[in-house]
Symmetry: C3
Subunit: 158 residues, 3 copies
Amino acid sequence: MSKFFVHERGICESENVGDGTRIWAFAHVLPGARIGFNCNICDTVFIENKVVIGDNVTIKNGVQIWDGITLKNNVFVGPNVTFTNDPFPRSKIHLSEYPETVVEEGASLGGNCTILPGIKIGRMAMIGAGAVVTQDVPDNAVVMGNPARVVRYLQDQK
Amino acid sequence: MSKFFVHERGICESENVGDGTRIWAFAHVLPGARIGFNCNICDTVFIENKVVIGDNVTIKNGVQIWDGITLKNNVFVGPNVTFTNDPFPRSKIHLSEYPETVVEEGASLGGNCTILPGIKIGRMAMIGAGAVVTQDVPDNAVVMGNPARVVRYLQDQK
Amino acid sequence: MSKFFVHERGICESENVGDGTRIWAFAHVLPGARIGFNCNICDTVFIENKVVIGDNVTIKNGVQIWDGITLKNNVFVGPNVTFTNDPFPRSKIHLSEYPETVVEEGASLGGNCTILPGIKIGRMAMIGAGAVVTQDVPDNAVVMGNPARVVRYLQDQK
């Protein structure tokens, strides 16, 4: 049996959560979500059903992980980061399938950045706080601005 | 008697809510708010008193609807969209009357966009994710950027 | 004994809270935080431990105040404003000490703006809604944009 922590004011409806993961107050995890080991799911985070989250992932407050989003191991998602999963949303119109967003291993998303639907964010990439990411981000790239542009590449990191 | 749903961890203090509307966990609706039929008020949404919301409106997580804001039928408000209602806010200084913000029928506000006070957003307009809207948006316009600019117009839609 | 209000759905773990301060639903204050008199801590706000908040401060919904952040008297923090405290965040890598962010007396932070780590925001400054603040802001300055630039200075205000 998995040993993860759910704060008494948080809600976790999934049983697919790894040992050592902590889910904090006013967070809400829907039944279909799969979450790895040693993750930190902070206050007010919302995680939908068709979601896969790796190990050692940090999701700070005010973030939602929608259907179709995958976060690989060691990803950092800063506070109020906003994912989207519909390129042309209209109320009460639902897509039959959502575009797939993937954040690759070790990437970090700075606070309050916005990720457009169907984006791939490369390994160890660093998204600047407040950036609006409208296209794929290469491995090791640092991006910032609205729309986000690559400003430099990180040296190879272990 | 109106038949709407309030999650056991949500708070609805208004009785002016239409049939079929759902209010989810950690959402909070104040007593004066008027909300139409078949709306979806997601987790952590906050709705103040002098607010009028039409039918079939979707408000995703992390959004607040302040005094003076009207959302017409079929409006979509994406996650973490931020409305404001004071053009020059100072702590403990309250306006006697708030500027009126109106989002017209069928308009969509992309995730994490920001709406300055007193703005009118036209019918079927589409606000890009992460945009900062500083002036009125015409019917059918698509806007993006900070500050938001019109990038194109949609063909007439039913 | 201090007389402050905590909504029955909010959580306040600190005893260092001044008279007249109100902490609303789904807000969460950690034990080490120090908060002054007559503050308004709105729904879903999160306040960490190494935080000092003055008197008459307003913090609107969806804001987090992280370790290392100081808000002086009469500061206004708009909805979904995002502070950060790590210039190069990686999951599971914690700084031994966080850069100090200070918002000086009477300053206002417009809705959904983003404050990079270690920033000083001057007295009575006004940060525009949706701005991304990447460097210190002088007293009385009005800034906006991504990155934020000074657009004018306010006359001396009492």
